[in-house]
Symmetry: C4
Amino acid sequence: MSFHLTPGAEGLRTRLFHIIFESDTPGSKAFDIALIIAILTSVAVILLDSVESYSDRFGHIFFYVEWMFTLLFTVELAVRIYCLERPTIYLKSFYGVVDVIAIIPTWLVLLVPGAHGLVIVRLLRVLRIFRILRLMEFVGEARLLLDALKRSLRQILLFFCSIFMVVTLFAALMYTIESPEAGFTSIPMSMYWAIVSMTTVGYGDIVPATSVGKAITMILMLMGYSIIAVPTGVFSAQVLRSIREDRYSEEACPGCGHDRHEKRAHYCLRCGTWLDEESEDPRKKEEKKDDDQQKGGDQNTSQDS
Amino acid sequence: MSFHLTPGAEGLRTRLFHIIFESDTPGSKAFDIALIIAILTSVAVILLDSVESYSDRFGHIFFYVEWMFTLLFTVELAVRIYCLERPTIYLKSFYGVVDVIAIIPTWLVLLVPGAHGLVIVRLLRVLRIFRILRLMEFVGEARLLLDALKRSLRQILLFFCSIFMVVTLFAALMYTIESPEAGFTSIPMSMYWAIVSMTTVGYGDIVPATSVGKAITMILMLMGYSIIAVPTGVFSAQVLRSIREDRYSEEACPGCGHDRHEKRAHYCLRCGTWLDEESEDPRKKEEKKDDDQQKGGDQNTSQDS
Amino acid sequence: MSFHLTPGAEGLRTRLFHIIFESDTPGSKAFDIALIIAILTSVAVILLDSVESYSDRFGHIFFYVEWMFTLLFTVELAVRIYCLERPTIYLKSFYGVVDVIAIIPTWLVLLVPGAHGLVIVRLLRVLRIFRILRLMEFVGEARLLLDALKRSLRQILLFFCSIFMVVTLFAALMYTIESPEAGFTSIPMSMYWAIVSMTTVGYGDIVPATSVGKAITMILMLMGYSIIAVPTGVFSAQVLRSIREDRYSEEACPGCGHDRHEKRAHYCLRCGTWLDEESEDPRKKEEKKDDDQQKGGDQNTSQDS
Amino acid sequence: MSFHLTPGAEGLRTRLFHIIFESDTPGSKAFDIALIIAILTSVAVILLDSVESYSDRFGHIFFYVEWMFTLLFTVELAVRIYCLERPTIYLKSFYGVVDVIAIIPTWLVLLVPGAHGLVIVRLLRVLRIFRILRLMEFVGEARLLLDALKRSLRQILLFFCSIFMVVTLFAALMYTIESPEAGFTSIPMSMYWAIVSMTTVGYGDIVPATSVGKAITMILMLMGYSIIAVPTGVFSAQVLRSIREDRYSEEACPGCGHDRHEKRAHYCLRCGTWLDEESEDPRKKEEKKDDDQQKGGDQNTSQDS
């Protein structure tokens, strides 16, 4: 998702665009950092406002700070729209929707008194941190992780499918064995218990009461405890592969088609073809010499490569 | 497990066989997806029916839906049997047994009124999802995982053996140290506690009361916390190995017997023998040229490979 | 630990020695399996005997079964001593001590009535399963794991040192912040809580009551949650290295000293020296031919290796 | 951080410096071990003193032991300062500050009666164990781990950022869904619950009461259960890379620039240049022979490398 500014845009608009939507100048980096601080502060205010003792004492301060941030984010949104030639595309994008949603609740209070509770959706704005990180130097790292995730996607799907089945079957089993008094009042409730047990969370709000139930629980817990090794193993292997392939060039050798050369390799390791297009093959020079001279002992050096 | 249809089967039977037992035509894929949806819906109905408040209100709807699915799965089973030349082999197979078990409970209600509770075994049908996944594109991924699991099987067995011993010894120790009032009423109960603690589930229904018991618990928890690194490490290594070997051809080099060539390798990396049977060795052409010409400087290029 | 039998031993003694102390004949394998079954059964009896309802009903059966196993293990111990030339070495070894300890409690009851509770130490006998596994085919797998463990030993020590310090500092912190009413009655108790939290067990018997305590707990939990990646990562890497090195021969190449050849390699990958001592280098034959013939075009094939 | 002693220091001072600040002589190793024992003992005394039943009985002994350790550590600090030419640099360093903080509380009691509670900060002294470990043989291992951590730093940051966002959003969601009676009294409290659930600790002091809340909890628990595979995978891959690169020399080949040679490699694997500066290239000798003789069949051996 990248937004382009109006071609014939005046200076201010161009400058604002670079500051807001890019992140390679000092100004745009300062804007990114200021935005993260503003988002985190507004989030902190919402969090503290939800604590009764704080909202009783500092409620009026929180009220003004909230309005200040609402105005700030509204201005930011207006500037974003002003910068872009086609603001509707931005407004329909994920971060555009989040930005609009984040300021609506406070404005809505002016019309609907009870809308204040919705201010909580502003927390969605923390997601913008991801975008800012993406713009900053985290691109490479995230790409590597996403690459590894994409590769292990099917195995992860298989993993969740297996967990779903194990959970369903154990939940049905425990529902028939355990009494509702122990908390196993329905199969969905037993599934909640099974997930709590299998993910090793173990709240303890629902625990097996019978001996058979406890024996089954032991098996489920051991399964949950050890099955996590599967996605971890798969993901470890995929990350390692991504890191390794990052080191290799994707260009095939013109000599033999081998395509796993290190990015800084000069020769093809398989057939010896010279790969580095920017410099000349030292062997060629020697061959020329060979052509000039008679074939002699120094032919060995060129053949050793 | 693959089922073959009657050789001299008429058109309908053949077509049904392909739709139900295979998954490479649009029709059979649609059938697979419809089957998964039907299974998940029938599972959802059973789950909701077990919740008292829902079964009170929608009990009669659930009743009809359940009969509908029973009829549907009965028809499906009948068609499966009709398609096959030797249905008994299918009926004795794992998925055959599951399919039969899934429809029996509802039919049994007609004979035995109390059999309704058994409807829960229909949940076993979710296991069929695995079979459908296997038929679809998940074969490669699952094979890789199973391959890695098979290789680490012994180490996993060793891991479970060790856990069993640690759990037994800690359970016996805690049974003698802690009083029955704290929940350690017997060694099996202490084993339940030990597994709850070691797998880091920690329900909190049984906790040590004495100082010595707490000290022993700390050791057990630290063991459980860190010992999981062992199967994870083993499995990671095995998955990586499986992925890597997947890249290698299993055919040995006819020149030197080396059998770890990449699947797309043209030359044997060890002795230089040409491996790709579909194309011709470029060196051979050069050799022919060499035979025609007198031995010259371009001999080097053929020796560098 | 391997025990040798009397050199001039008669036939029975030799045969018993092979059956009991080795595991490569059908007889000795049957003995190992019978011993594992006997140990597990005797363990099961002790477990069930500790459950009051079972011991009330089947107490007298358990009593006879226990004596039967005591006699059985006593006979086994006697035969072991009889087989060996120097039984004292065996009796001082780990498994010798375990074997003696396992039968003492039941015999002690004849002298001291209250000694019955000690029968629990018989559970230590389950440790013998490890020895049997070692004798059976698990040697290679265990060696690989131990190899990886030995290599990551220091990093694991460092890991436990770090955990000890984090736990101590967080425990001291929580002891000063939280009140004794919440369960933080002393620093050792706080350490128990810190380990319960950090290992993600989370019994819930001691939980922070104050806001500051909860904030500190969040940090501790996140540390415990993510720090486990460190030993897992280290161990994964070490297992992979062990597996890989298992594939390589430890013999150096006589030509260039390179010592990372695959066990089944014929040539040294670095300098081309022939490694397989059992067969002859195919190039040598060609060279002989070369000497006979005049140097010709087919010299290329021998140089390509 | 390394501290240098006064250049023209007398014999005692030099000897003390070597004993206290280094760790390669038997004397300094003994000092390190004695210091670790002293620190651990003083920590143990503080821990036991915090247990009421022990402090009631042995309070006066603990009092004297505490003063003994305070005097000991004061003398140690004085000697450290005496040894160094610029003690202020040491006193401003991390371990200098810790050393001073560790003895202040006990001395402060002489002035301020209530200061005794501060004795707990002495626990910070356990951190010195890290320094001693660093001085001892753990340098290599720690370097490897730190190297891997440094490489995965960004991915770990990304991981904690993601956790923070997931926790915030789930906390806000649960705060609106669940009632304060269930424990979800504020968003920070819900965040505490979310971290307890996501890290799989699961105290059970706050659990969802409604069905929707339980469904959301299931998703959160499954996320927490499986997301840990990400940092583990990343870290595993990085440790493996660190181990592998440790095996490789950082010196580039003078022939072709290839810089991934094993530390003990004699030839460059890519271009065949002789790397081992301490011995002579065996091929050169052969070449000399070649120059003496006429070019013959044994030319092959030198070309095969």
